[in-house]
Symmetry: C2
Subunit: 320 residues, 2 copies
């Protein structure tokens, strides 16, 4: 059973070490943050709902905490920003074991420490059903430099970091394989790594014209860039860096790499004359396509040109 | 039934008019905000969970939207700040009528417009059970001026704005009266008004030494000030401005005024020589007690001195 709200908050407060410009964190009506005056503030919020975004029988508590914060930090990475502070709202079933909540914060705060992000506030309330966590992350970027979805231009090349489909490949095994997976064997699913250093490099060197993180899947996230930039895109199927997963190192299939989400790699565009490194901060960067004038997305497989539909996850979608 | 996620977002985006320093709102990985360089950023988050914070059979959809945002704006008011931007994360049952969601946004956006707050982002996900809304509000205050809970000193007087117990009085009628209430007859419960102008005046004129908004109830929120300031307090029962509620104008009882929450009036302390107006921005200000050196809270009723316990709402509390 959970401790009383006040005891939970006191316990978390003891574990939090403030980094950076936090004037006041947990314990007042609001947090107070002081940012460099030349910076803009980046704000992102992401919901993690039990049995929608995670399952307690599949995902150990510390993994849920890690994945929850990783989603928020990844959105800051997708702007080329620096994550600063996190706020966490938790709706919890009264019967949740306190040990589960402690594990959640263990994973959450370990990732926060790695990225020097301060947990600066939040809220706790009782949930009539499962766990719901809403994560808010604030970050900064120098004025006018954040990389938006809307900057892609016809002729730009399309790049992706790392390898993709690994998180979704593991999810398919959980959904259809009927057995639990060891978290350490499938790190892309259980411990996704936000690409903060890569995003910052792309911003500081003015390489990327548009950027997004792969949370919904390549086909859907590329569609977001195309919509906001009013452009189309061509993607070469053979160029997509598909992930290898599990102890056997099985290569995920093309459909998974195209449509499964939660890899938290970065998808970006850059003008054709811009020199793009093959690797940034130890992460591979791969050219997979180009931006076109039409508003359509096309997948090129050998000599075939196939319409590429955004087939990633969408809530309340009646049919695909 | 709800529209698909993408259609819901498109519909909201069409309704939002940005005020103030919003460089980018809904539609990118993060919002981008630009604040005056001499300001600090205030951040608050509040959960609204169906059947915990509201019930769909008691509260019309627009009331839920209003109350949800009012909670966040009130926290900014409690610092003496100016609310700027809101972020809203919604976990929604797939079977929720789209009409309910439209009503929710009607109430939410009407209050946002009143306070010139921009809905600048958020998230939407499916909920396996009821509606959960997490509201984040960002505000500003000039550097070093935000009024914190920790500034109360022995000898300071304790003040409260408006009348209190009105929201809780209506809630008790809903809980124990067995019938629905008309929203317009109980505005303190259904349409709470965040005291932004009062808070700003108290900050700008350097009147308040500590402040909090009454969300958990006077006894609990005063305890928060006492804890963070390491002081005690004495409250005169007869001085508490109890609200009149309903068409008959019934005065709420003392217990309700002391312990019921969600009035969103301001509770603040001020040094004894500070001149405190009887009314600020049209809202009454009432002296109800003083801060003491001991760490205890005492209620003075006639010649009796009774220990005042924080008896407001606390989640996961086993017993009171």
């Amino acid at each position: 059973m959970l401790l009383a709200e006040r005891q939970i908050i006191a316990r978390i407060r003891k574990q939090v070490r403030p980094f950076g410009p936090i004037v006041a964190g947990i314990g007042d009506d609001t947090a107070i943050l002081r940012f460099p005056s030349n910076d803009e503030i980046l704000v992102t919020t992401d919901l993690c709902v039990e049995d929608v975004h995670f399952r307690r029988q599949w995902h150990p508590a510390h993994v849920v905490g890690h994945r929850c914060l990783a989603r928020g930090i990844s959105d800051i990475a997708a702007m080329g920003g620096t994550p600063i502070a996190a706020f966490l709202s938790l709706a919890l079933p009264a019967k949740l074991p306190q040990k589960w909540l402690d594990g959640f914060f263990e994973g959450f705060l370990a990732l926060a420490k790695q990225f020097r992000v301060t947990l600066a506030g939040g809220d706790i309330a009782e949930s009539p059903s499962g766990v719901t966590a809403d994560i808010v992350v604030l970050g900064t970027a120098p004025k006018g430099t954040a990389i938006r979805r809307s900057g892609a231009r016809p002729g730009d090349f399309v790049y992706v970091t790392g390898q993709i489909g690994g998180a979704g490949g593991a999810l398919k095994m959980l959904l259809f394989g009927g057995k639990k997976l060891k978290a350490k064997d499938y790190p892309r699913h259980f411990y996704p790594a936000p690409r903060v250093a890569v995003g910052q490099h792309l911003r500081a060197k003015k390489i990327a014209s548009a950027m997004i993180d792969l949370s919904d899947g390549l086909s859907t996230d590329l569609a977001h860039i195309c919509e906001e930039s009013a452009v189309g895109a061509e993607v070469m199927a053979s160029a997509i860096p598909r992930a290898r997963i599990g102890p056997g190192g099985r290569l995920v299939d093309l459909e998974t790499a195209l449509n499964a989400g939660e890899d938290y790699e970065l998808l970006f565009t850059a003008p054709p004359r811009r020199k793009v490194p093959k690797s940034i901060a130890g992460v591979a960067v791969t050219l997979i396509g180009k931006i076109t004038r039409g508003r359509k997305m096309v997948l090129i497989e050998g000599s075939k040109r196939i319409p590429l539909k955004s087939a990633g996850w969408q809530h309340f979608q009646k049919s695909k």
